[in-house]
Amino acid sequence: MQKLLDKAGTFFDTQIDLRSRVIIIVASVVLLPTYFVPLWNMTLYSNQFPDGLVLNIYSSKLEGAKTPNRDDLKEINALNHYIGMRALKEDDFTEFKWIPFVIGGVILLALRVIVLGAMSKLVDLFVLFTYFGLFSLWTFYHKLYLYGHELDATAAVKVAPFTPPMFGHTTLANFEVYSYPDWGSYCMALAALLLLTAIWLSRTSSLKQKPA
């Protein structure tokens, strides 16, 4: 047991190598697009909207596709009000405030790891980032759940409470709804993977250092 702890202690005390530091820089850079590209995308197709009503969820905002002849967010809200669903409004999402803040914090911590070079700090960062990612997914799912369940009892059209799809495809009334992660989420997943790679590479180098 003590041996294992010692081994772990040694592991956490190792300095990460150059390759890992470069990879961490790459991971920080990969996080930058999350400020500009959507994290999630929902597209609703129907007979009347063969090109689909498009809803994009960014780290800091909610945006429907907008053409001169249509504002998709307004349109989705106009249609949802018939089943008593609350209007999708940016103000309802505290996420849009803390997600960009946390991503910024993660980037700063990554730079700190690069400078200080301690494996323990890198592991901290990875764990924190993974927790943040999973929590964001949960809160997103929870929001969808609330929108689909807290329906106005006086709505014109009564539907059974439901959770809009978070991942995949479903049919809601006359709409085919497709919901998938978008580039922003892929960037976050890639950043997590890169951090893990950085840990893995320096782990082997620390093993090599040990006999010396």
Partner: protein
Amino acid sequence: MTLRAALLMVLAAALVAGCGGEKKGRGGRSDARSDIQEAALRTYVAPGDMDEYYLFKSGGHSGQVYIYGVPSMRHLATIPVFTPYPATGYGFDKESKEMLGGYTWGDAHHPSLSETNGDYDGRWLFISDNANNRMARIDMRDFKTKQIFGPIPNVSGNHCSSFTTENTEYILAGSRFSIPLPKGTYEKVEDYATKYKGVVAGIAVDPKTGTMSLGWEVLMPPFDYDLGDAGKGPSKDWGFWTCYNSERATGKLEVTSTQKDRDYVAAVNWPAAEKAIRDGKFKMLGGAKVIDPKDVEGVVYLLPAAKSPHGVDVSPDGKYIVASGKLQSITTVFNIEKMLTAIQKTDFTGNEDGIPVLNYDAIKDAEVNVGLGPLHTQFDDKGYAYTSLFVESAIAKWKLGTWEVVDKIPVSYNIGHLCSSEGDTKHPTGKYLVALNKLSHGRHLSVGPSQPESSQLIDIEGEKMSLLYDAFTEPEPHYAQMIKADKLKPIEVYPKEENKNPKAIWDVKDAKTVRSGKNVEVYMLAVRSSFEPNTIDVNKGDKVTIYLTNIEQTTDELHGFGLNDYNINVVVDPGETKTIEFVADRQGVFPFYCTNFCSALHQEMQGYLLVKGSGAVSSLHAPDKSLATK
């Protein structure tokens, strides 16, 4: 070859002939089936597909403009112009009511698209009113009438209108019916030849906004100014008008005005007219600056043309001026260079009220024997002209320069105007031609004595013209404009940011009713599927003003506001605000409802106007006559 094989071949040939051979239709049609299939393929626009051209037809005494798609010839929409049109709420809201100025009809005659360098620029469509002497401008951004200018002072029967100069500096106008001027003057009809006057005019167009104002007017002898065209290229400084009745006759014009073999084309040099106005060489008449050709030289000339000419059309290169003498079988072609030379050499053969008449032999290039009753001419991209023949019910195709008639196609029946694709610009596309026929009898299911007009689509790409399709329309397309669809980019939603109406509201919490004395202002919004507020409480005699904003931003989400028993229907487009004004002069409860089907809960989109009164309940709610004429 055996006898049996030969017999079989003969039989097979007979069968083929039987299938593809001639078939006589009800209307006497005898086209080969393969031609019908070809025509069907050329005109079939599959569901969901778009047409290649817009066709804007004047609606004649309906007062409106009809939009058709070419080649399908489907009626796409009606643009109300001179006549109230409840389908779009036109003439019911305050803004359009003011524009109509109390008139309830117009005779929409000749549409004219704005031009830049002699080609359609897709900005505005102008159309003249022969009845109440007005000119309207439709914005091609939203296909809505934006201005009705007039009644134009001194102009009487604005028929020879509206034709656009090369860069839309002016829209031509003028009098078909000469009268004593200024309007309001009484003179005996026996004194017609001396005391009655015609005018031709240029309506100035603001190059940025399209706003029309009166540019200049020229006092003319009492002839009947019939049609016109503006020059282009070498003739760009000129406006041309035909006239009949140069006899200055009255009474039964059918006889009295048709005695001379030649009448005239009037040619006005508009920069000279502009200069005369600038130099103060005009007199005020009926509130307008009018140039008298007796006092100012070089503004107007007369070109003798055979006989009672109707249309005058300038060729794409601007070199030829083609006047069609409806009572002879010839179309006269004048050459602009020869005309300018004759003016320079003062080669005149007379004058009419001080206006020089140019020497016919010196200015004409050709008399083209096109056929009976030539009226109007359009052009293609290969140097051909197409002249409509009313009496002959046909179109003649002839070559500019050689003056040779190369083809003729019968039409059904009695063609008036014709319109080829961008056929009055510097660059006609030479693809389609629409014959705007006056009579349609026997070509459609009978609809009783009130017969529609017929419009026939003709392919002009090949050497021979070929008939593609029959379409029908309400009375009465006079002229039309055909423009390539991709030159127009109409909006379908008024962007919220552009709505500068201070009375517009966009949020339910701003919906309110404000009373001050007997004035009640209602700030109302419409959105699927409700009006807010949905109850309006007023007292009998209150003046009610509703500012209704449609807060939708989605294409096709229109909402209507129909008020029962009050003779009101307004339709508001997405992002638009309209003002509804009326006096609540009848007590009781009056439902209002959405008239333009909007959604699954459209029926529920309704509310009540409650008018509290002290009087006894009247059993009869007759329509308020004052509303109808306001």
